[in-house]
């Protein structure tokens, strides 16, 4: 028996998606794999998703895989590699949960009070605002009663069950393929894995065969057992997975009894909000999404698959306690506020106006996000740094482009080669590469040639087993022996390169000869295509993936053969530190801030620059926005990362100044150790943007606002749209809490609302002037000019506070107020303010 110990790494515990990956891998080998969690004293068959999930494994649990059987060695090796890489990526693409911070603790600005017929505090499940009439949907809480009554004898029931299984699985597969969304497809595949779990199906089948239970009852009982095991889990996340089992069982039961789900009541085309005590992921997917404006759900966790789907599909959703839910009547107007976690029944005119403003604001935010995504990534001082995506399959293309990838910095081609009995043919590969190239629409795509051997094994590629696969016969090292396989791949790339800018990157290079070999194979591939008369690109750019210290230290030599370089930071770090990154006891060694590693990167970049070669960086390091200042300092041409990290990287990049980054790099390189380096970097990142406190985009003249609520909202939204505030609702609440102490109208037609909130990134001032004066406080005189001051919770740098103090003092002078009231345009307001802020 081989033992593979590890510490469970995923924050959300061992849930269905990672478990289905692990199961899938185990089933590929003729081996028995037992999973043990020694903290919880649980044992599970790793071939069973349900048992794995039921183990209740949480992040940090000490675990052990026991592998035995004929393919023990191969399985253990594959499992080690899995733990090291794929498992860590199982959570990468989860959409973020609703932003916390606003509406917490039940406190709301005063204008909410009494503004709606009823107002319910719930939990924000998916952000956004929905406003429409309520459609009530009977939640399918338990299986139909009649499932329990059998119709036929055991033999017939067994046959019916088998057929239902096959039909349901085919349906799920079809739905997953048609979903066109990787998150939805992932959830459906996890359901498929549970359904095809031998423990699940086998148990049902044996209950039916023994004649003890009819098919429906056997499904219900088995599902209930598994769901109960999950509900006992210490992890909230895992407890929420029980809903998946219920969903699968109901689906299976419905197929079994030939009853179409009473799904999809026709939703009113004018828009509606669906109110449902329980809504399974498959039910949500079956709803017509065009008129769907929002969801009000019963007890649902924010990590349940229904919640994840709602976020992915961009449907605002709030979860309410059952009594509140039951009070909502069909046909009444609702507002679902997925920011504050509120549901409002029949809002009055003031709140309707308020939410129209909010919806308009969210539209502008989305436009801003899209604009940011579309913008070329560059630093504040206009230094270009391409931000690209790493992808492993064609399915990931869409999210990559949507999030603003400027290219594909790493297309891992091995996904095409895994999990099959023979290598993919030239046409099949050409089809995949062509699709990537076509959707890239002119943006560059770097295809990494086959990177297997060692950890990733292909049954049809007979490579010898090795003691030390990561230092073994992998990637480019077997290209000579398996020239056919490589020429086939290169032919496919050359053909597809007619559709776009494909480049070829060679993994695991240590010697110039290896690049020369690939160049020869590339020439051979082109000659073969020419002989066959197949249209293809004349040439493609050939580059080197820098993963070994040998390559990093000889860029100048490799540059004679290679047109570009991209650093594979995961392996390069592992090889530099001689520390397996899957080994939890060595986690401290796996630090990209180690002086040796940073020096290596800097030297490699200097050599690449000298040789006039393009240099990229793909690997986890590239997607860490904290490290971005160092990467800018080193002078990479490109950073390539998981698609979900691209918007944050572009936004951070726009705040950086390349000279400051270089200065930081010099200080970090001079640091004695990684801890000191991390301190310097942290200090740099914590430093607020030293920009101006006000800009033209923060001035609004001629505002239609008629209440303090609208004025404050408008100003907070301006601040969020300018990127100075993370979540305007949180700032709004802070400002209103301050107003509650006493109203901030000053008389003279002015009001000076202000607040401190963690959501504020740098102290800022926003100004509006309303078309008509309005009342701010009951006792006060009408207000026409509103200056809003936003200060970070931990006000760093007193400079801004000093400016605001000066501004407050200046407001006591009539000439200044008159200038603000008379200003003809935003520029005049800015002049008046800057004069006040700048003048001693």
């Amino acid at each position: 028996m081989t033992r593979v110990p590890f510490t469970f790494p995923l924050a959300n515990g061992l849930h269905a998606r990672p478990a289905s990956l692990l199961q899938e891998l185990c089933l590929r080998f003729d081996a028995v794999v037992v999973f043990r969690n020694s903290r919880r004293g649980r044992r599970a068959d790793a071939g069973s998703v349900l048992e794995l999930v039921s183990s209740g494994t949480m992040a940090g649990d000490p675990c052990l895989l026991e592998v035995s059987g004929p393919q023990e060695k191969e399985a253990a090796q594959a499992l080690r590699a899995f733990l090291r890489r794929d498992l860590l990526q199982a959570e990468d693409n989860l959409p973020p949960s609703a932003a916390p911070g606003a509406g917490e603790g039940g406190w709301l600005p005063p204008f909410f009070r009494g503004g709606a017929l009823r107002l319910h505090h719930g939990r924000a499940v998916s952000p956004g605002i929905g406003r429409a009439i309520a459609v009530l949907r009977q939640g399918r809480v338990s299986m139909p009663r009649r499932f329990a009554s059998g119709r036929k004898g055991p033999a017939q029931e067994s046959r019916l069950f088998r057929e239902a299984m096959e039909r349901t699985m085919a349906e799920l597969r079809g739905q997953a393929e048609a979903s066109g969304d990787p998150v939805a497809a992932g959830i459906l595949k996890a359901h498929l894995a549970i359904l095809s779990d031998p423990r699940f199906g086998g148990k049902i089948a044996s209950r039916i065969a023994a004649g003890r239970l009819p098919a429906g009852a056997a499904i219900e009982k088995t599902a209930a057992e598994f769901a109960a095991a999950m509900r006992r889990s210490p992890s909230v996340y895992l407890r929420e997975r029980a809903a998946d089992i219920d969903d699968i069982a109901a689906r299976l039961g419905e197929t079994l009894y030939g009853k179409r789900r009473d799904a999809a009541p026709d939703l009113p085309p004018g828009g509606c909000i669906v109110v449902a005590g329980a809504l399974s992921p498959s039910e949500l997917l079956s709803l017509d999404r065009r008129p769907l404006r929002g969801l009000v759900l019963g007890e649902i966790g924010s990590t349940s698959h229904t919640a994840i789907l709602a976020r992915t599909l961009g449907i605002p959703a709030v979860a309410l306690p059952r009594p509140a839910l039951a009070g909502i009547a069909a046909g009444e107007e609702l507002v679902v506020d997925g920011r504050r976690g509120l549901v409002l029944e029949q809002p009055g005119p003031a709140l309707r106006r308020y939410y129209r403003l909010e919806q308009e604001h969210l539209r502008r935010l989305e436009q801003r996000r899209a604009r940011l995504a579309a913008q070329p990534a560059r630093t504040r001082d206009n230094v270009r740094l391409e931000v690209a995506a790493n992808i492993g399959s064609v399915a990931e293309l869409d999210p990559a482009w949507r999030s603003g990838a400027e290219g594909i910095g790493l297309f891992r081609s091995e996904a095409l080669f895994l999990e099959r009995d023979g290598p993919p043919g030239e046409d099949e590969q050409c089809e995949a590469y062509s699709r990537v190239a076509r959707t890239a629409a002119g943006r560059p795509v770097i295809v990494r040639t086959l990177d297997v051997g060692g950890d990733k094994r292909l049954p049809y590629l007979r490579l010898m087993r090795e003691e030390n696969p990561f230092l073994g016969y992998r990637a480019v090292r077997f290209y000579e022996e398996h020239g056919d396989l490589l020429r086939c791949q290169l032919r496919a790339i050359l053909r597809a390169a007619r559709c776009g800018r494909l480049k070829v990157m060679v993994p695991m290079v240590t010697r110039t000869e290896e690049v020369r070999l690939v160049r020869r194979l590339l020439a051979d591939a082109a000659a073969e295509l020419r002989d066959r008369g197949v249209p293809h690109a004349d040439s493609v750019e050939l580059g080197v993936m820098v993963e070994t210290p040998a390559a990093a230290l000889s860029i100048d030599l490799l540059a004679r053969e290679a047109g570009f370089f991209s650093i594979g930071s995961n392996d390069l770090l592992q090889y530099t530190m001689a520390a397996d990154r899957g080994n939890p006891r060595l986690a401290g060694l796996h630090d990209p801030l180690h002086p040796a590693f940073l020096r290596l990167l800097q030297q490699a970049a200097a050599q690449a620059r000298k040789a006039g070669r393009w240099l990229g960086l793909c690997g986890e390091m590239a997607g860490n926005s904290e490290l971005l200042p160092l990467l800018v300092g080193i002078g990479f041409n490109e950073v390539s990362m998981a698609p979900g990290r691209i918007p944050a990287a572009k936004e951070r990049l726009a705040e950086l100044e390349s000279g400051e980054c270089r200065a930081l790099l010099r200080r970090v390189l001079a640091a004695a150790d990684a801890t000191t380096a991390a301190g310097l970097l942290g200090e740099f990142n914590a430093r607020g943007e030293a920009g101006e406190a006000i800009s033209a985009e923060l001035v609004r003249l001629d505002s239609p606002c008629r209440t303090p609520g609208e004025a404050i909202k408008e100003l907070c939204c301006l601040l969020e749209l300018s990127g100075r505030v993370g979540n305007s609702a949180a700032l709004e609440d802070a400002v209103w809490k301050r107003e509650e102490a006493y109203a901030t109208d000053l008389g003279f037609g002015f009001s000076l609302p202000h607040g401190k909130a963690a959501a504020v990134k740098s102290a800022s001032i926003a100004f509006l002037r309303s078309r008509k004066p309005f009342h701010w406080s009951p006792a006060g005189t009408p207000v026409q000019a509103v200056l809003l001051i936003a200060v970070p919770e931990k006000a760093q740098g007193e400079e801004h506070l000093r400016l605001i103090a000066r501004l407050s003092r200046r407001l006591m002078h009539e000439e200044f107020r008159a200038a603000l009231l008379a200003a003809r345009d935003a520029a005049a307001v800015l002049r008046a303010l800057q004069q006040c802020l700048g003048g001693g």
Binding site: L807, M812, H813
Partner: protein
């Protein structure tokens, strides 16, 4: 008259300084000498020295929160008011000093 004053509001961002400005303006207009200490988000600024307090005829504490180092004014003639009052009617606040 020689006056010392302290202003302090809950967030210490704006009203503390507006009140200080108003008191200074009104004192100038009425021909008094004044020094105003602000207790705001930047801490204590323009701090009153022991001698200045000692030499002053009276002290104004315009605060919506507890004034720090209040013991400095023990035995002094003190007019207490809110920050808002000092902003809206600074002259009225100063006139209260004149009354015995």
């Amino acid at each position: 008259m020689k006056i010392v004053a302290v202003t302090a509001c809950p967030t210490g961002i704006a009203h503390t300084y507006m009140a200080a400005e108003q008191l200074e303006k009104a004192a100038r207009k009425l021909g008094h000498g004044i020094k105003v200490e602000t207790q705001g988000a930047m801490g204590i600024e323009n701090e009153l020295k022991a001698r200045e307090i000692q030499e002053a005829d009276a002290a104004i504490l315009a605060a919506d929160i507890a004034v720090q180092k209040r013991e400095r004014f023990d035995g002094k003639r003190i007019v207490e008011t809110s920050v808002q009052e000092a902003i809206k009617h600074p002259e009225a606040v100063l006139e209260r000093l004149a009354r015995p």
